[in-house]
């Protein structure tokens, strides 16, 4: 295990290795600048030149806010031009950096680009709609709500994959959590017990994943794929036989109440997002922060990451690789299980077959887009929740863009992300590789 072999894996720049000071070991490719340029050009043509002529109106305040802000009304055509010029500028900056200095653009460039692109897109969509007016507050609050299970799912993914176990079973964990939450909450008439049971169910699904992938060294992707089918079959079977035999008794969990924090929840836009959530919603924020601190600021996190990056080295230092993996996967399952309870305890107050509807896979995508970082995954999940919410809003206000394409967007973005076209995302080095001592 020589250093030359391992350090490029970790992506550390090694200027001295190739002589030229400008060249780092991490390659600077044309991918990002070119992708940005293409997107900016498309934005200029569609959002700018071919943009709608009317105004787009964004309501900022909702009725319950303690002070009201006026709605923002922007001319769609003009803002389309201006915003796409900014996009072109950013893309040009990236191109120049690559051409002149062979440098990759600073990290804020793709971030700002994404934000500006989304805003321009939003103005274009709303401006071209039959009723060119939407509530921004509602849009954002709805996005956060829709993102909750995705965030939990991606956190589960982060916990597992940082320790080196690929978790394709997020979907199964969400579904298992949703089912158990509904069942237990119905039987005990206590949604909080349902929440707890969801965590246990998610952990149990995870333990099967851990058992098979760690003890029996079965390929983790296979176990994940199969577990999804297994949980889908089990919950579907029990739903048809048990729950439907007596929905009153087995499938009527109460709802977890929304907890409003006084005053703070009245702040426009931010209030409903941060201070007007269900317990699961608040848990989401807590989980993101706790997991981020845990992974990057504590001894435990360092060990977990060591196990995920270089299990041999970790083992040499006395870290129990497989035990760490086992417990991480289990905790990840519990986190995803809590996310699953969102479906049955917050969103809809009963369980139906396949209620998670593929969100576990979106969570997987969010984790990748967020580069295996809890906070990154959180924002990526928000983006997906945003696309999801926008899709339903777009159908209501009637826009030229078919809603199916809006629904497709998160998946396309993910493909771009894993293909390295919008920034490179690199999994932990030992992700998916079982560790066998010896």
């Amino acid at each position: 295990m020589s250093t030359t072999a391992t350090s490029p894996v970790q992506g550390k720049p090694q200027p001295e290795k190739n002589g030229g000071p400008a060249v780092s070991a991490k390659p600077v490719t044309w991918k990002l600048p070119v992708t940005l340029s293409v997107l900016a050009t498309l934005a200029f043509i569609f959002f700018g030149l071919l943009g709608p002529q009317g105004n787009a109106k964004f309501g900022v305040s909702s009725g319950g806010d303690f002070f009201q802000l006026p709605a923002i009304e922007v001319p769609a055509f003009l803002s389309g031009i201006v915003l796409s010029m900014i996009l072109l500028g950013l893309a040009g900056y990236a191109l120049v950096l690559k051409a002149r200095n062979n440098q990759r653009p600073p990290r804020w460039v793709p971030a700002v680009f994404t934000v500006v692109f989304v805003v321009a897109f939003l103005i274009w969509v709303v401006g071209g709609a039959r009723t060119p007016s939407i509530s921004l507050a509602g849009l954002i609050a709805g996005s956060v709500t829709l993102a909750v299970p995705i965030v939990f799912g991606s956190l589960s993914g982060v916990l597992c994959e940082r320790a080196g176990v690929v978790n394709i079973a997020i979907e199964g964990q969400l579904l298992g959590g949703a089912f158990t939450a509904a069942l237990v909450a119905s039987l005990t008439h206590n949604p909080y017990l349902g929440l707890l049971a969801a965590a246990v169910a998610g952990a149990l699904v995870s333990m099967v994943l851990a058992l098979f992938s760690i003890k029996y060294v079965v390929n983790q992707i296979i176990v994940g794929v199969v577990l999804n089918v297994l949980v889908s079959g089990l919950t579907g079977f029990l739903f048809s036989t048990v729950m439907q035999s007596d929905p009153e008794k087995y499938n009527s969990p109460g709802e977890l109440p929304n907890i409003d924090i006084p005053v703070l929840s009245g702040i426009p836009v931010i209030g409903p997002i941060l201070f007007k959530q269900s317990v699961v919603g608040y848990l989401m924020y807590i989980a993101v922060i706790v997991i981020w601190i845990g992974l990057f600021k504590t001894k435990w996190g360092l060990r977990v990451r060591a196990v995920g990056e270089h299990p041999q080295a970790a083992d040499t230092l006395g870290i129990k690789v497989n035990a760490t993996r086992f417990w991480n996967v289990t905790i990840g399952g519990a986190v995803a299980g809590i996310g699953g309870s969102f479906f049955t305890l917050v969103a809809i107050d009963s369980f139906t077959k396949e209620i998670s509807g593929g969100r576990g896979f979106i969570a997987l995508a969010a984790m990748i887009l967020g580069r295996w970082n809890p906070i990154g995954a959180f924002f990526a999940a928000l983006l997906f929740g945003f696309a999801d919410n926008l899709q339903s809003i777009v159908t209501i206000i009637g826009t030229p863009v078919p809603s199916q394409f809006m629904a497709m967007l998160p998946y396309v973005v993910t493909v771009f992300a894993v293909a390295g076209l919008v920034g490179r995302s690199r999994p932990p080095a030992a992700d998916g590789i079982p560790y066998v001592k010896g």
Binding site: V9, V217, I221, V229, G236, M408, P434
Partner: protein, 466 residues
């Protein structure tokens, strides 16, 4: 991974390659990821014991396979017996699940200690009734009218097995090259879109029309799979993620199309396409009394083709070599990128055949449920078949039987179809972990037993000493 530095430069087909002196630094990451992933996917070439991982079993024909064992031992601990025991175990667990939720079982459990025999009889009858119904719905129904009616379930099984087999072959082929093709679902959909459009929009003479439908469908699937191959080869994007995403993209694309005038049946409120022309439909093999169509014969042909491709052709050898150890394959002068793209294209084409079987054979229309869950089932089919062509064929028949029988089972006994998913996934889980199955049936190789026995003895002695 210690040998990472070696194969890096040659495999990077990166368009913006730096001058030769710097090539070692060009795009190492995708390949690193790539290589690491592949190692993890196929442990036959990796550092891990091959016996525990099913993917490795695919390359069992390659030299350097597990150590020699006696013939008898092989029979009792080998893959064959494990497969049978895994199926048995999964059926038993499924039966227990059925019994658990059965009403009669519930009531008899109430007085279990008074009369346990009632309870056991109820468990037995609940499970067996369901399985008997399953069998009658899948293979042979004694109550059918005449031989034709009695064998109708078998024909239904073959019909349902057709897309499972071809899509399963696609997944299996990719497995052999070390790739996880989760995308059969999307490939079936894309094939269905193209094939159905040719089927209902063009009006061509018999023969030519069906041929075009077939070609269009296969191309649809092949392109959808091929893109994944290109992305994997050129950018190192992991195929599992890409194929999952492509499934959704294909599904939403299909939904969009079914919303447009181009695809929606005139006058229909639901998203459904016009019926394909009779000239574009597969002829029925045994006449109009069964749904079994030409697609099944094509599935057999596809199995023969894949078998030849893998075992007799140069490309197939390259696929297997790449699957066994991509680094070694690269060193041996095999173009890994080309093999990746090619294998995904062929895999997509095979899944496309399943799409054609759906729109030109079984369904004759395009709906957003054209792929049902065939694409996902295909993964379990390929895993159960251990990624060998004929194994996949057999597994496709078995799962086709489950599917066909489950419908009958639900009608007769009220057992939900979902039980099939449970049994299927349990089968694959157990097959993937032979040590678990052997442990449950007490068939672990003696060597291990001796070792553990020795250990316990040792522990006992040390414990005694302390």
């Amino acid at each position: 991974m210690s040998e990472n530095t070696e194969p890096r430069p040659a495999a990077a087909p990166d368009p913006d390659r730096l001058p030769a002196a710097q090539t070692t630094a060009v795009e190492p990451e995708p390949l690193e990821d790539d290589a690491d992933f592949v190692t993890s996917l196929d442990t036959a070439g990796g550092a891990h014991q091959p016996s525990a991982v099913p993917v490795s079993a695919q390359s069992g024909t390659l030299p350097g396979a597990p150590e020699e064992e006696s013939v008898l031992r092989k029979i009792f601990t080998g893959n064959g017996i494990v497969t049978i025991l895994a199926v048995l175990l999964a059926l038993i667990l499924g039966g227990l699940l059925i019994a658990m939720t059965d009403k009669v079982v519930g009531t008899t459990a109430g007085y279990f200690f008074a009369r346990p025999s009632d309870f056991l009889a109820a468990v037995w009858s609940a499970a067996t009734e369901s399985y008997v119904a399953l069998f009658q719905g899948a293979v042979y129904n004694p109550r059918g009218t005449g031989a034709a009616g009695q064998f109708a379930p078998l024909m239904e099984t073959l019909t349902i097995a057709t897309p499972l087999i071809t899509a399963g072959l696609g997944v299996a082929l990719a497995f052999r090259a070390g790739l996880f093709n989760i995308g059969a679902q999307g490939q079936i959909i894309m094939a269905g879109i193209l094939a159905s459009w040719v089927g209902f929009a063009l009006h061509l003479p018999t023969g030519l029309h069906l041929l075009l439908v077939l070609v269009a469908g296969v191309i649809g699937g092949a392109v959808w799979g091929g893109i994944v191959g290109v992305l994997k080869a050129r950018t190192g994007a992991h195929e599992v993620i890409v194929t999952i995403m492509f499934n959704y993209i294909a599904l939403y694309f299909l939904r969009y199309l079914l919303d447009t005038d181009l695809f929606q049946r005139p006058g229909a409120d639901t998203p459904i396409s016009p019926i394909v022309d009779p000239s574009a439909a597969y002829p029925l093999i045994f006449g109009s009394q069964y749904r079994l169509h030409l697609g099944f014969l094509l599935a057999i042909a596809a199995t023969v083709f894949v078998s030849w491709l893998l075992n007799r052709s140069t490309i197939g050898f390259e696929f297997r070599a790449v699957g066994a150890n991509p680094k070694a394959a690269l060193t041996a002068g095999i173009n890994v990128s080309r093999a990746t793209i090619l294998v995904m294209t062929i895999a997509g084409g095979l899944a496309g055949l399943a799409g054609v079987a759906q729109v030109a054979g079984t369904e004759k229309v395009l709906t957003d449920g054209v792929a049902a869950t065939y694409g996902f089932d295909a993964i379990t089919v390929a895993l159960l078949g251990r990624s060998s062509p004929w194994g996949t064929f057999a597994a496709g028949l078995l799962f086709g039987a489950f599917r066909a029988g489950a419908v009958q089972m639900q009608i007769q006994t009220g057992t939900p179809i979902d039980i099939v998913l449970v049994v299927q996934s349990l089968i694959v889980l157990f097959i993937a972990a032979p040590p678990l199955v052997r442990a449950i049936f007490g068939l672990n190789p003696r060597k291990k037993k001796a070792a553990t026995a020795g250990k316990t003895k040792q522990a006992a002695t040390t414990g005694g000493a302390a």
